[in-house]
Amino acid sequence: MGPLTNRAKTLEQKPLTFWESLYLPAIFKGMAITFGHMFKKKPTINYPEQQRPFSSVFRGLHVLNRDEEGRENCTACGLCAVACPAEAITMEAAERQPGEENLYREEKYAAKYEINMLRCIFCGLCEEACPKDAIYLSETFAPSDFTRKGFIYGKENLLIPHPVTEKEKYEMAKGQREQQTKNK
């Protein structure tokens, strides 16, 4: 049977010549190679100081959105939980009481909203399912924690800062990504 490709090389195993059996030339060659590698460009990024830019479609941690007046968008409709393939989202709905109009945009809101970041696969289907633009995925990724409990993010972790009272933090949390999704 002939070779399948013409890339096959026949290997001749001759006994070592005197020069080869000294091994020293081969050792010097090897040392030249390692020496050459000393000055090559290092592919490593110095992580905390240097960061790779994220792609524009990067899907990081979730953010629960507020509108311009700082009212929560979420109406606890549960579409995100239904859409979630990893079943990472739980919520409890509650009715808005009179006098809470400045807190919640519509009559119904999420009293409890939890995402288990250990289950979440960051697919972004919750963002696509949301009719109220209440949840979107940001550019930060989940920080480490010591316990599993710490990875269940409640509303206090997810909710975006208030746009009026904490303007700077709000802008920071909003980041680039929400703009891009709106522009689409």
Binding site: G30, F35, H37
Partner: protein
């Protein structure tokens, strides 16, 4: 009755020797410390990595962090070990590593307040014999540590280390005899001064030019004596789990690891002294320079030249380690007994014949 001369010890002589010993020991330790750092850094560079760069600027505080970590680790002495010897092992390894530095001439001489101080702790006339004696003692650190740990791997490593060091000592000694035939002296200071007589400010007098084969054999044996790759069989991480210091922890382990680097430093110094003119500055006539800028400055420059040579050999140690894989045990013995010893003997014969023919 004690002769009165014995009681008239020169206090200043003792003091300057003490200072010199202190300086040399602390210098060797600092250099060894930073050799560990250089090892990691160069290993990183050769593997296209960055190496440690977190502790301090460019990671220069890394050796301190390493040492501190080892100091704070829990010290475990295995129940089944021979405790006395277990403690003695690392101390002995460190001691024998440092002892050799006593006969190495670190520079010519300096003048302080009218006194001429030699930059060598002891100019014994059997300097090289002393070096060999101490190097042979070095095997006890490995042997005692490995045996007293009462661990199969450690014992295997200790036996390996002992037989390796004994085997390579032979070739090492034989290769040096041909050098000694030329110099006619065992004193390291004399050997350096002879080399300084050569042309081009001493460069043509370096022994490497006359004894390249002896240098090669000596260098290979030095690698073996220091248990460095490709001869690091007593350590052999992947077959012996670390070898003779497997049961050690905390600073005892630190001393073992550290003594390897001190050994490297001292061996580099010995190689530079014997073959590369020691503190000789190439292209410079030291005696002429001394009349121009003074003895002390020349001694300083001489020491710097010596240190540059040492640094090159330290780099060579590291360079070879990250290039060549480890020998198999039979290959190691084969190289030592069947290749290096006959080669050294042949070299010895040739040197003797040539010297006889030149009627020196």
């Amino acid at each position: 009755m004690i002769p009165i001369q014995l009681l008239m010890i020169d206090v200043w002589f003792g003091l300057e020797k003490l200072l010199l010993i202190g300086a040399i020991i602390s210098f060797s330790l600092v250099v060894a410390m930073y050799t560990t750092f250089a090892e990691r850094k160069i290993a990183g560079f050769m593997q296209d990595r960055r190496g440690p760069n977190r502790a301090g600027p460019f990671g220069i505080l890394q050796p301190l962090a390493d040492g501190l970590k080892l100091f704070f680790k829990e010290e475990i002495i295995p129940l089944t070990s021979n405790k006395g010897l277990f403690v003695l092992g690392p101390a002995l390894a460190m001691l024998t590593a440092m002892l050799t530095s006593a006969v190495i001439p670190w520079g010519s001489q300096i003048e302080i307040a009218g006194r001429t101080v030699s930059l060598q702790v002891a100019d014994v006339n059997i300097g090289i014999l002393y070096v060999f004696g101490v190097v042979s003692l070095g095997v006890y650190g490995i042997m005692i540590g490995g045996w007293s740990s009462n661990n199969k791997f450690s014992l295997l490593a200790a036996v390996r280390g002992a037989s390796q060091i004994i085997s390579y000592e032979l070739a090492m000694g034989l290769s040096l005899i041909s050098l000694l035939l030329m110099t006619g002296s065992l004193s390291l200071k004399t050997i350096v001064e002879q080399q300084m007589q050569g042309g081009w400010g001493g460069l043509l007098g370096w022994n490497i030019l006359y004894q390249p084969l002896a240098f090669l054999i000596f260098l290979i044996c030095v690698f073996a004596e220091c248990n460095r790759t490709p001869f690091d069989l007593p350590e052999a991480e992947n077959e012996l789990n670390f070898g003779y210091h497997q049961e050690y922890s905390s600073m005892k382990l630190g001393l073992y690891l550290f003594s390897e680097y001190v050994n490297m430093f001292i061996s580099s110094a010995v190689v530079s002294t014997l073959f590369f003119g020691g503190y000789d500055i190439p292209f410079v006539n030291e005696a002429e320079l001394a009349s121009n800028i003074g003895v002390n400055l020349v001694a300083l420059f001489g020491f710097l030249a010596f240190f540059a040579k040492i640094a090159f050999f330290l780099f060579l140690f590291i360079w070879v380690r990250w290039t060549i894989p480890r020998f198999r045990y039979d290959q190691l013995m084969d190289l030592g007994w069947k290749k290096l010893i006959p080669l050294a003997l042949a070299n010895l014969l040739i040197t003797a014949v040539v010297l006889l023919a030149l009627n020196k």
